[in-house]
């Protein structure tokens, strides 16, 4: 069922294209710069630092989460592009299983997101956050889990999206709400109850909280982690498995 060479070459294709498209790399860097230094500094003047962390430091884990969110969704939506421009047929008529295609797409989407998350870490020196080697690897590990989860979600959506016209709907009604209701920019506990409930069903919330555990180590709520780390990791892992299962199933049916 699972064929390694096709999975390898599906991943290679995504990597080649990612590094070839300079605008995508540039976008990876530009968006967090805007949020961190423009919004972060603007909002930061309203919010005084607590427990040794400033607002701009508080939103940094959220920016890693945001980068992963956009990158993972973009990677998996490439399935819709492939379908629209015919390349999907090349894969579908090849003697490989649908599962191999799903795994190849998930793996490449995950790894590209992690790469982008790591690129964001170059801003660390400007934020006054201290990062040890150990913390670095912890960030990479958590990013990988979160990327995997969001990519699986994206593939589930892509399998059901018949044309590219649905992309804007996904952006406005899923991706942006996921970003704003994730604790990336404001603490979950201080939200009004209705919004808080929505935030609690968002996997990104727990992913970002896990990153806060690593990057804002001694922080306390509101400008710090709000849930236990193990709970964060557990929830993200469970949601990932559920998403990927559904993604694989609906892909098989759809195609």
């Amino acid at each position: 069922m699972i064929q390694l060479r096709p999975i390898y070459v599906i991943c290679m294709r995504e990597f080649i294209k990612f590094f070839r498209e300079k605008s995508r790399l540039l976008g990876t860097l530009a968006r967090p710069v805007l949020w961190l230094f423009v919004v972060g500094n603007g909002m930061g003047s309203l919010i005084r630092p607590r427990a040794g962390f400033s607002y701009i430091q508080f939103i940094f884990p959220g920016m890693i989460g945001m980068t992963i969110l956009f990158s993972s969704i973009f990677s998996s939506i490439s399935i819709v592009w492939d379908r629209e421009f015919g390349f999907m047929k090349e894969m579908l008529v090849a003697p490989i299983s649908r599962l191999s295609i799903v795994i190849g797409k998930t793996l490449s989407g995950t790894l590209i997101s992690v790469a982008q998350a790591v690129i964001i870490l170059v801003f660390i020196p400007f934020l006054g956050i201290h990062l040890t080697i150990r913390q670095f690897f912890e960030v990479v590990a958590v990013s990988m889990l979160v990327s995997f989860c969001i990519t699986s979600l994206g593939i589930l959506i892509a399998a059901r999206l018949t044309s590219f016209d649905g992309f804007n709907i996904i952006m406005n009604f899923l991706v942006m709400p996921m970003l704003f209701l994730s604790g990336a920019m404001y603490p979950v506990t201080s939200m009004p109850p209705a919004l808080r409930h929505l935030t609690l069903i968002n996997p990104l919330t727990y992913g970002i909280d896990a990153l806060k555990h690593i990057l804002l180590r001694n922080g306390t709520p509101p400008l710090g982690p709000e849930f236990p780390l193990l709970l964060d990791l557990f929830i993200v892992a469970v949601i990932s498995v559920v998403m990927l299962t559904f993604a694989a199933l609906s892909f098989r049916r759809k195609e």
């Binding site: 064929q3 294709r13 294209k17 015919g86 090349e90 008529v93």
Partner: protein, 327 residues
Amino acid sequence: MSIITVNNLTKKFKSLTAVDGISFAVNEGEVFGFLGPNGAGKTTTINILCTLLSPSSGRAEIAGFDCAKDPDQVRTSIGLIFQDTTLDVGLTAYENLKFHAYLYNLDRRLAEKRIDEMLAVVELQTRKHDLVKNFSGGMKRRLEIARGLLHYPRVLFLDEPTIGLDPQTRNTIWDFINTLRSKEKITVFMTTHYMEEAENCGRIAIIDHGRIIALDTPAKLKQMVHGDVIHVITTDNQRALAEIQKTFSLAAREENGGLVLETEKGDEFIPKLLHSLTMQTLSVSLKKPTLNDVFLKLTGRTIRDDVVADSKEVTREFVRSHRRAQR
């Protein structure tokens, strides 16, 4: 020996029957064509044969493998060139071919060897490391053919292989396919709605509304239309009609402000005709029968939509390039 066997194949989409109980067999090494207007069921049949669709009923076999039950065996035995390009334009020619080689599980050294071999066949060796987005339509098609042959399939499927290409490129592609056939032992199954293209086939199945209405060699099919078609315009068509009926006992019919008559050896008939007519002749033209006439004879219609289909293709191309630019 037949390499493709299709038996009473039917495909229904809700209320529409796209393919309606067709049966045929294709011999190994043959160039077999499906000719018919758009929407006749050509692409649906190809999609069933290449395992993208499952039939509603009936059976299709390629190289002895059932298309519905043994898709992976069938897929390894076939190469496909689709109507719309399925290349990744963001990759180079080499990368597209390598992708294909790995999907078909060719090992690395063999893949490199075949890639060079196939690029030479389609005369794209010098463009090996160029991005496909910089290729012309004809080059893209050639690259797709190279890709379709990379895993040495036994049957090559060409779905409207030259649609949207200019006539010159169309000819080049055909020269190329014919050369290829003389070198490799390969069966070609193609669909087209271009008459001239269908002439390249050894045998043609004419398909309309999901049914095969005729199946034979192009020459035999053309014999179904009795002889050549002569179009003549005179100063008095009505009287000419009567005279032709009387002298040659031929039933002419009025069309386009002139008379149309079918006869054998039209080139020898024209002098006799001109000699016998008592009124002045304004113009005479002779047309050898084409497959279009065969289609007209069988269905009472010409293969329609030619112009519409081409303009649709242009629109589609425009939308694609436009979207790509936005990306």
